[in-house]
């Protein structure tokens, strides 16, 4: 075994593994509107975030996603319970005074009867969507965007570099703005008002544009953008793959939308189209042949984390197939059932809290600088 295979060896886990794990949990949540099961998945995701997040700025994204989830639930409840004119149950919470709305609102109401059924249905549906979104939020907190960008396919190399440049310079622009402001304060301008904003924005923009020209010169002089010569045949092959792929996707989409078209024109066509287009991406990536500086390893912990996510999803799919009454409760006022398999699934989803390697105990600054140096921004530090 290599050292990277030991779960105890401190290193950042491959971002792709975190994404697959998070998508597995999100898929599990998409199978159930049972609030208890949704909360279990949410707890698993939150537990892993607490155990394995780094000290980077994006590591605090999970809290923002939780707040977004609460907002989703609140909007759901307000829209469905308060604005809907159809009564959805018999257990009345409160009878508000009703305000009639004009005809264009097509039967919306304001106020009126509010029932437990309506509120609880809205709550569990909102909780499902919030759980899915928080699973993605957990990945946002755990995975480093810049590390993921390093493994973009070769065909997206140029745009990947542009994204790395953007991620590196965006924080710097803020400090640019602060510098321009303090310089202007020294000259006796106060920063307030629209004119003050313009006096700050224009120098920052000019500075950024000037820097982009310098950056381009630096990249050119270091041989950036040198592509290997690809034979005309290979180029045509790539183009043919991409075109037939996208055409297949378009035809397949039509097949899915039109009821009179059935069979191979629908989903199979779409799948083949997607495969061809993805193949075009892979083949097209050969025109840039590069070596990677310290590539992120994909070792045993990555496989374990991905397995945990997929396992959680599989168990919830089985629960949804075997006991649909537990996965999607028919009546919102019933006490939700909790199958044992769903409990096990949520526990498996939480396993990366111990399976993933601990995050290296470095200050966030050194991590950020190391990542920035690994990208195209390397050229700038000279």
């Amino acid at each position: 075994m290599r050292s990277v295979d030991y779960p105890g060896y401190a290193r950042p886990l491959h971002s792709g593994a975190w994404w697959l794990w998070g998508l597995g949990l999100a898929a599990a949540a998409s199978r159930t509107t049972n609030p208890v099961l949704c909360l279990l998945i949410l707890a698993a995701a939150g537990f892993v975030v607490m155990a394995r997040r780094s000290r980077a700025p994006w590591a605090y994204a999970f809290g923002a996603f939780l707040k977004l989830g609460l907002l989703i639930i609140a909007v759901r409840i307000v829209l469905q319970a308060v604005l809907s004119s159809q009564s959805q149950g018999i257990h009345v919470i409160v009878d508000l005074p009703e305000i009639p709305l004009p005809a264009w609102a097509a039967g919306l109401k304001l106020g009126g009867l509010i029932t437990w059924e309506a509120v609880l249905t809205a709550f569990s549906q909102g909780l499902q969507l919030a759980t899915i979104i928080c699973c993605v939020g957990a990945v946002n907190a755990l995975a480093s965007a810049q590390r993921l960008l390093r493994s973009v396919p070769g065909a997206l190399y140029e745009v990947g570099v542009a994204a790395v440049v953007a991620l590196t310079f965006a924080p710097q622009l803020v400090s640019d703005a602060v510098r321009v402001r303090s310089a202007q304060r020294l000259r006796g301008y106060d920063g307030g008002g629209l004119a003050g904003l313009r006096r700050t924005a224009m120098p920052v923009l000019e500075g950024a544009l000037g820097r982009s020209v310098e950056l381009a010169a630096a990249m050119d002089s270091r041989g950036y953008g040198r592509t290997t010569d690809v034979a005309v045949g290979a180029r045509r092959f790539t183009a043919a793959l991409v075109f037939t792929g996208v055409l297949g996707v378009a035809v397949g989409m039509y097949g899915l939308l039109d009821a009179s078209v059935t069979g191979w024109l629908g989903l199979p066509m779409l799948g083949v189209g997607c495969l061809l287009a993805a193949g075009g991406l892979v083949v097209g990536g050969r025109r840039t042949r590069r070596t990677r500086y310290r590539p992120d390893p994909w070792a045993l912990p990555e496989w374990l984390v991905v397995t945990a996510g997929v396992g959680c999803a599989v168990m919830f799919f089985v629960v949804a197939a075997r006991s649909p009454g537990a996965a999607v409760p028919a009546y919102p006022l019933d006490i939700p059932q909790v199958p044992v398999l769903a409990l096990v699934g949520a526990l498996v989803g939480a396993l990366p809290a111990v399976l993933a390697p601990p995050t290296p105990d470095r200050s966030p600054e050194s991590g950020a600088v190391g990542q920035a140096a690994a990208g195209a921004s390397e050229e700038l530090s000279s």
Binding site: A106, V159, A163, L167, L173, E206, V213, A216, V246, A259
Partner: protein, 277 residues
């Protein structure tokens, strides 16, 4: 290249949109548009009919990233040199920083002005990639990657694309044109973006997507949904971008064009031809 086909002197297409790329972009845009507008055109009983299962919307969430990757790869394969990459990265950084600073409250989306003006000055292909990369970088910085991101990238890409296709007027007419376009783009962006999650929703029945209902009925329901939930964000977004264009459009445009000239984008022969005219 004939002289007649030469663009005006201060229009600098950074990313040459070859015929092949343009066809692919149109094709992918069509599929992308279907990813937003499918609730209106789906047949009852078709495979995507949500009365069978509620999973149809997720299907597009999976499909769109692949399409975005394909079209961006095709656009950049046409020869994106170091200058185009550096400028793309820097403009996207400005947009992303504005996105991170602007809280998104009240539809304050200041990054729109970067996308509109960048697409205007550097051409439609660059505009599309700029819109997509700006939204991507903004989401990465704020930790806002989610199922909505590919939809936002496509919509912002279209904002930049159409900004590059506007008629080549100059002076006051140009500012007026761009300001009007900003309002339209702000409203259209909001209208499209809400569509991606609208079919997921089971809000009040009067504003919820009903699978298999007629186009007009669903459009009406969507219009009510849009007016009640999102109009308050979309109008300020469009108006604020337009106001910014009117107030600062001239210096911003000239700054961008000056950069384009300073960096000598394009081959030497073309430069010689341009200066000889």
């Amino acid at each position: 290249m004939t002289t007649a086909a030469q663009p005006p002197r201060d229009l600098v297409p950074l990313l040459r949109l070859r015929a092949r790329s343009a066809v692919l972009l149109a094709l992918v845009s069509l599929v992308g548009l279907a990813a937003y507008a499918w609730p209106f055109v789906v047949d009852p009983g078709a495979a995507l009919d949500t009365s069978h299962s509620g999973d149809a919307p997720w299907f597009f969430v999976v499909l769109l990233p692949l399409l975005a990757a394909v079209v961006v790869a095709e656009l950049s394969a046409g020869g994106m040199d170091a200058k185009a990459v550096a400028l793309l990265g820097m403009l996207a950084a400005i947009g992303a920083a504005l996105r991170a600073l602007g809280p998104g409250a009240a539809g304050l989306e200041p990054s729109f002005i970067v996308i509109v003006l960048g697409g205007r000055v550097f051409g439609r292909g660059f505009g599309f990639v700029l819109g997509a990369v700006t939204l991507f970088a903004g989401a990465m910085i704020t930790g806002g990657v989610g199922p909505w991101l590919p939809f936002q990238m496509f919509a912002a890409g279209w904002v930049g694309l159409f900004a590059g296709m506007l008629p080549q007027w100059r002076g006051r007419r140009e500012i007026g044109l761009l300001a009007a376009y900003s309002i339209v783009a702000g409203l259209g962006y909001g209208m499209l973006i809400n569509l991606w999650f609208w079919p997921f929703a089971a809000y009040a029945p009067e504003v919820t997507y009903v699978a298999g209902d007629s186009v007009v009925e669903n459009l009406h329901r969507y219009a009510v949904f849009w007016a009640t939930t999102s109009l308050g964000w979309d109008v300020p977004r469009g108006v604020l971008t337009a106001v910014a264009v009117v107030l600062a459009g001239t210096p911003l445009l000239s700054a961008l064009r000056r950069t384009a000239r300073r960096a000598h984008f394009g081959s030497p022969e073309e430069d010689a031809m341009t200066s000889a005219r």
